[in-house]
């Protein structure tokens, strides 16, 4: 063991901190019981805030550690920031719900912290093994929180469905990884890239391609791209609303980060192969989500289809395969995170007579009964539909810009036409809120922390056009890291 070098723990400080604190929180919870749920939630948010500060503080130039398994660069900084902000915001939003709706158990914040830790590890993975470990840590925590209302049938069904299909996708991933290991001769991303390159001009053998397809399918499952999306509507609808909000904000971003890292890192040489897969996933997701969402009555289910569609748009940028395209994906995901957190915040505020409601029809006449909330939800819906001047328009602008620049006109035209179809179901919500006669008003007040999160995301969505620089520059730097 002469060559042993102590790993650089410092670059993994946010993860180490979260892991340590999660164990501490677990202990505190075990000894104090469920009455400490709220303090632990607040502490978890604080832990994520510290982790965010560390991520931003130690971000910057590319460094690896733990035998090249763990990487930190501007890309991981950007993605980790998004994940931590999304996770923290959804945790804060859910405080009231957790207290009221029989989810007041200390495991909830602890599991969320573990899931977040798994996502950070996924984003920093530089090796198929590290990737799998991070992914499983995240997934296992998520299976549990999906079924967290264990006495509600829908919630347990969601958890079980998610578990079975998630396990299947993990299996696909492992199988693909083993093929890659066998044919490319390594598990580290650098080794795989090297191995593929060594095959030279005639290209890698079919085994590598099969491995790539399996890995891509597994990751498509995680980002819920069509045709691997089947779990999404059921899980989103069945899981408790704060969990759904968390699902759509944080894990999605981590999974997209992973997808970007994997196809652009080790498989960079095989652009022509994975590019077709991504284009198919992208068009299928955009089109399917746009049509499937039209008939939905449940707002959570609708947002599930919406999230499938959004992944499709984000993948347009990846299909372009250029640095510009990746930048578009990152901008898109950042904007998506803000919008989706806000939209789920609004869903959390949908309570009538102390009962949560989730039908779109329950929003009827919100423009009269609660004009402020209706205006914010309206902004989110127009933004998700991609209508300027709201943020969602810019997200689409940057991915389509990249696609047009790469000559992917067919993809771009399919995308914008799908966005018109998709606009219908977003605008339908505006119609319900403003054109229909009021039914029953929602309970007020909705809670300070929830109002704050909704307002913050509403302001960012509405005023992004005036102050786009932070997100644009962050995404620019992050995209550059994937194209050395």
């Amino acid at each position: 063991m002469a060559g042993f070098v102590a790993p650089d723990y410092l670059i993994a400080l946010p993860e180490i901190l979260l892991a340590g604190l999660a164990c501490v929180f677990l202990m505190v919870g075990v000894f104090t019981g469920n009455r400490s749920t709220t303090p632990l939630t607040v502490a978890s948010v604080a832990a994520m805030a510290i982790a965010l500060a560390l991520v931003l503080g130690f971000g910057g130039e590319k460094r690896t550690s733990f035998g090249d398994m763990f990487i930190v660069d501007t890309f991981t900084t950007f993605m980790k920031s998004l994940v931590l902000i999304g996770a923290g915001a959804t945790l804060i939003m859910g405080l009231g719900y957790v207290r009221r709706e029989g989810m007041n158990r200390f495991e909830f914040p602890v599991l969320i912290v573990f899931a977040t830790l798994g996502m950070l590890l996924m984003i920093s993975a530089n090796d198929l093994m590290a990737l799998y470990v991070g992914l499983e840590l995240q997934s296992l925590s998520l299976y549990i929180v999906a079924a967290f209302r264990r006495d509600a049938v829908r919630s347990t069904e969601a958890g079980l469905k998610y578990f079975v299909l998630g396990a299947l996708s993990s299996g696909l991933l492992l199988y693909g990884a083993s093929m890659i290991y066998g044919f490319a001769g390594g598990t580290s991303f650098a080794a795989i890239a090297e191995g593929i390159k060594n095959y030279g001009a005639e290209g890698p053998p079919i085994g590598v391609l099969i491995g790539l397809v399996f890995i891509a399918a597994a990751l498509a499952f995680k980002v819920s791209a069509v045709p691997f999306h089947m779990w999404t509507p059921d899980v989103y609808e069945g899981a408790p609303t704060p969990v759904t909000a968390f699902f759509s904000a944080a894990p999605k971003i981590a999974a997209v980060a992973l997808l970007l890292r994997v196809v652009l890192g080790p498989f960079h040489e095989m652009v022509a192969s994975w590019n077709q897969i991504i284009i198919f996933l992208s068009i299928a997701s955009m089109a399917y989500a746009a049509f499937a969402a039209i008939g939905q009555r449940n707002i959570k289910r609708l947002l599930a289809y919406s999230s499938i569609g959004h992944v499709g748009y984000a993948l347009v940028g990846l299909a372009a395969g250029s640095e510009e395209g990746v930048r578009g994906v990152l901008i898109y995901m950042a904007i998506y995170m803000v919008m989706t957190v806000g939209a789920f915040g609004a869903v959390l505020a949908m309570r009538q007579k102390g009962q949560m409601v989730e039908e779109i029809a329950d929003l009827s006449g919100l423009g009269k009964t609660n004009p402020a909330m209706a205006a914010v939800v309206g902004i989110f819906m127009f933004s998700m539909a991609g209508i300027p001047p709201f943020a969602g328009f810019f997200g689409k602008l940057y991915v389509f810009l990249a696609a047009v620049n790469q000559g992917l006109y067919g993809l771009a035209i399919a995308g914008v036409l799908a966005s018109v179809v998709g606009a219908y179901y977003y605008v339908r919500i505006v119609k319900v809120m403003y054109f229909d006669e009021p039914t029953e008003a929602f309970d007020r007040p909705v809670g300070r922390e929830l109002t704050a999160v909704i307002a913050a995301s509403g302001i960012i969505t509405a005023l992004f056009f005036a102050f786009p620089a932070p997100i644009l520059q962050g995404a620019q730097a992050a995209a550059a890291a994937l194209f050395p």
């Binding site: 328009f393 602008l397 620049n405 006109y409 505006v430 056009f465």
Partner: protein
């Protein structure tokens, strides 16, 4: 660079919106204050735009009052505003019609007044922005952003089938716009900037021009609207509240024509020339077909909506003649139609507010009870027909002169359409105003109130002014149109065919 007057005009209504949002108190008080806030904001904006006209230098054909500030410097996208002779009057038309819309809604809108006024002021910001923007991204944001307030105006304050109409309007317009967006992206990638004057100076390959032209056409043809993309318009007009129809007919339709003049002609001259027969065909069909359809309408608003499609057909013919008269006629026709059709919708609104029906058959003999109304309606009916002495005449005359130079058949058919226009408008007038007053519910109908007279007087004044002494208006647009004809790439394409189009021989120049 002194005082940024264009930004002030564009964003001043935002101050009004802010004030409206902050209004507090009882519902009735808020509603009353909201009306006054909106009225004063829009009047001040209009006054500022008059200052703009006063300061406009007619001799300068370039963009004036230019403001340019980097906005997204990494992408070469600027905050870039400016007006020239083509856009300045469309801008003033917007600021002029907004206070009229506010006044027209004074009593007829009773629910959610504050939100209504916010929507109208937001419309004003966005439309003025469209006519000022000299950067494609800005233009698109303003252009597309209008869908939101207009969707709400139709859907919240509209008639019985408002939901259907609002969706139809929204989705139709959106389909066209997204293709336009892709065209913008392509041009950006070719030229490296979204600056409109820079792109106008860039020469695209012929094939690229054709695709780009089609993408832009998808957007503008829906907006204008051209036959057969017009079907959203009658629905939207019928269901929109009166002021919504005024904005729609008066201003929103003009953005399509403006788009053709500002983008399609100078940026894709070869494609424009290539597609001229296509545009002529659609326009001629639009004029004749929608005139015939208008003849058969039983709903007053629908009739006027179809007449708008016919009038816009004349605009497109004028624009695509590539002659000085044709283009100036097209612009002039847009301006006069903006006033006349707006006024006609207001006329419908007057009787609708009293009787709550737009069916032609429900009226008759109104002249006996409403003499002032009869006069007002007559003025605008004749203006719509294109009687000399009204604004409608000048535009149609110039456009048809241009058309005769380009293609006799097109001009002849357009004239047939104008005759049909006289038929349906005069018939409408006869059925509503003349005859015996037999319907019992009309026996008590009241003539125009002072507020309504106040709305119509400036419109009548302007129509007559434009008809009797159009020179000041034509003079302002003359320089910029001449520049479009001679300096832009368009000149290279049209010079072999229409040499006479380059020297402004007829009429305007002679008058001077």
């Amino acid at each position: 660079m002194d005082w940024p007057i264009l930004s002030t005009i564009t964003f001043l209504p935002l101050v009004g919106i802010l004030a409206l949002v902050l209004l507090r108190g009882e519902a009735a008080v808020v509603a009353r204050n909201a009306r006054y806030v909106a009225l004063w904001t829009s009047i001040v904006t209009f006054a500022l735009s008059l200052v703009l006209i006063g300061a406009f230098d007619t001799a300068n054909p370039d963009y004036q009052f230019v403001e340019k500030v980097p906005w997204l410097p990494e992408y070469g996208i600027n905050y870039h505003l400016g007006v020239d002779g083509i856009s300045i009057f469309l801008l003033v038309l917007t600021t002029f019609l907004t206070p009229i819309c506010v006044l027209a809604s004074w009593d007829s809108i009773q629910s959610r007044v504050r939100e209504y006024m916010i929507a109208f002021l937001a419309m004003e910001v966005l439309v003025v922005g469209v006519f000022c923007a000299l950067d494609f991204v800005m233009f698109y944001i303003f252009f597309e952003g209008q869908l939101i307030p207009m969707f709400l105006i139709i859907g919240v304050w509209g008639g019985d089938r408002r939901v259907y109409s609002a969706f139809k309007f929204f989705l139709y317009t959106l389909v066209g716009s997204v293709l336009f967006l892709l065209a913008i992206l392509y041009m950006y990638l070719q030229v490296g900037t979204t600056d409109i004057p820079t792109i106008a100076a860039h020469t695209f390959s012929r094939e690229a021009q054709i695709w780009l032209w089609l993408a832009l056409f998808a957007s503008f043809a829906v907006k204008l609207p051209m036959w057969p993309f017009h079907t959203w318009l009658p629905d939207a007009h019928v269901e929109a509240p009166t002021a919504g129809s005024v904005i729609l007919a008066g201003i929103l339709l003009k953005m399509g024509g403006y788009g053709f003049i500002r983008f399609s002609l100078p940026m894709m001259p070869e494609a424009s020339e290539f597609f001229t027969p296509f545009v002529f065909t659609l326009s001629v069909i639009a004029i004749v077909y929608t005139s015939l359809v208008a003849l058969m309408q039983e709903d007053m608003k629908k009739l006027i909506a179809y007449s708008s499609v016919a009038h816009m057909g004349i605009v497109t013919i004028g624009i695509f003649t590539f002659t000085q008269q044709g283009i100036e006629g097209g612009i002039f026709q847009m301006l006069s139609h903006g006033i006349v059709s707006a006024a006609l919708f207001l006329c419908v609104g007057v009787v609708y507010d009293r009787e709550h029906t737009r069916a032609i058959a429900a009226y008759g003999g109104l002249v006996h009870r409403m003499p002032i109304y009869a006069v007002v309606f007559l003025v605008f009916t004749l203006a719509s027909v294109g009687l000399p002495g009204t604004g409608g005449f000048v535009g149609e005359f110039l456009a048809v002169i241009g058309a005769f130079k380009a293609n006799t058949w097109v001009a002849t058919t357009a004239l047939i359409g104008i005759i049909l226009g006289a038929a349906y408008m005069l018939w409408l007038y006869r059925r509503v105003i003349f005859g015996e007053l037999t319907k019992p519910n009309l026996k008590t109908i009241t003539d125009l109130s002072w507020r309504e007279i106040g709305v119509f007087v400036p419109l009548i004044g302007l129509t007559l002014f434009m008809g009797i002494y159009p020179k000041p208006i034509l003079e302002v647009m003359h320089g910029s149109v001449t520049k479009l004809m001679t300096d832009s790439q368009l000149a290279r394409v049209i010079s072999p065919v229409g040499g006479d189009g380059l020297t402004p021989t007829i009429m305007i120049a002679d008058e001077r």
